[in-house]
């Protein structure tokens, strides 16, 4: 039996790492043989989650962002994005479309996009302690023509 693969990635909350993080997620997802559309969906969701750490979790300083990914049964990818930043006081409110504390530089659509691009999005947060976003997406198994 093939043992299930995983990665753990740590990086500081600088904006330049937004593209790094989504590309790493894409490189890891590649082993599930996703379509370009599936790959795009995963990179988009990761970009949203990581940008939230950079913009909201650590507003005035650099903090540490942890991204974990693993392969679950049934060709499912799980991605966890975790910070030790300010946390979210009201998660239900935060997940509402258009809700943002980021002013007019943010749209408030981050969680909405994560939800519509992934099969499952779980948010856990403690004010002052940090936030963990766990996302899952099943990749359709295609017949391999090789």
């Amino acid at each position: 039996m093939k043992s299930m693969n995983y990665i753990k990635v740590e990086f500081p909350s600088s904006s330049v790492n937004e593209s790094f993080a989504r590309n790493v997620a894409g490189c890891f997802a590649a082993q599930l043989d996703p379509t370009l559309e599936e790959l795009g969906d995963i990179k988009t969701a990761v970009s949203e989650a990581v940008t939230n750490c950079i913009v909201h979790a650590y507003p005035d300083k650099l903090g540490v962002v942890l991204m974990k990914a693993r392969i679950l049964p049934e060709n499912t990818l799980e991605i966890v994005v975790k910070d030790k930043g300010v946390g979210i006081a009201d998660i239900n409110k935060a997940r509402e479309p258009m809700f943002t504390t980021g002013g007019d530089e943010r749209s408030g659509m981050g969680f909405t996009i994560m939800e519509s691009f992934m099969d499952k999005v779980k948010v856990r947060s403690t004010a002052g302690k940090g936030t963990t976003v766990t996302m899952r997406r099943r990749i359709i198994c295609r017949k391999q023509v090789k």
Binding site: G40, T51, E105, M109, T112, I113
Partner: protein, 103 residues
């Protein structure tokens, strides 16, 4: 990320190319703000045909451009959007605020 601009008869077309994320969004916004203030166009088209990636930061760019254009008495819409960027706009339902024409 690159921002180009074409002007013709009060219509301004802003061509965005590359990856539009939070890291570059502020720069894109201020480029667009400057172009609007300079040219005061009646119509501003955000041409997204050259984007290889866009996340919700692109939505903030569209909304802000729309607001700025409304302030100067003009109109904004999005053209040539496709693929991943189009799926982001669809998921956000931006069409209710700013018209989106796909390729």
């Amino acid at each position: 990320m690159k921002v180009f601009c074409e002007k013709k008869n009060g219509r301004m077309r802003i061509l965005l190319s590359g990856e539009l994320d939070h890291n570059v969004a502020r720069g894109v916004m201020s480029s667009i703000d400057a172009l609007i203030d300079e040219n005061l166009p009646r119509e501003c088209i955000l041409d997204m045909g050259g984007l290889s990636f866009m996340d919700s930061s692109g939505i903030a760019v569209i909304l802000r451009t729309n607001k700025h254009m409304t302030d100067v008495g003009g109109r904004t819409w999005v053209e040539n959007c496709e693929g991943q960027a189009l799926r982001v706009l669809d998921a956000a339902g931006i069409d209710r605020v700013v018209k989106v024409y796909s390729k």
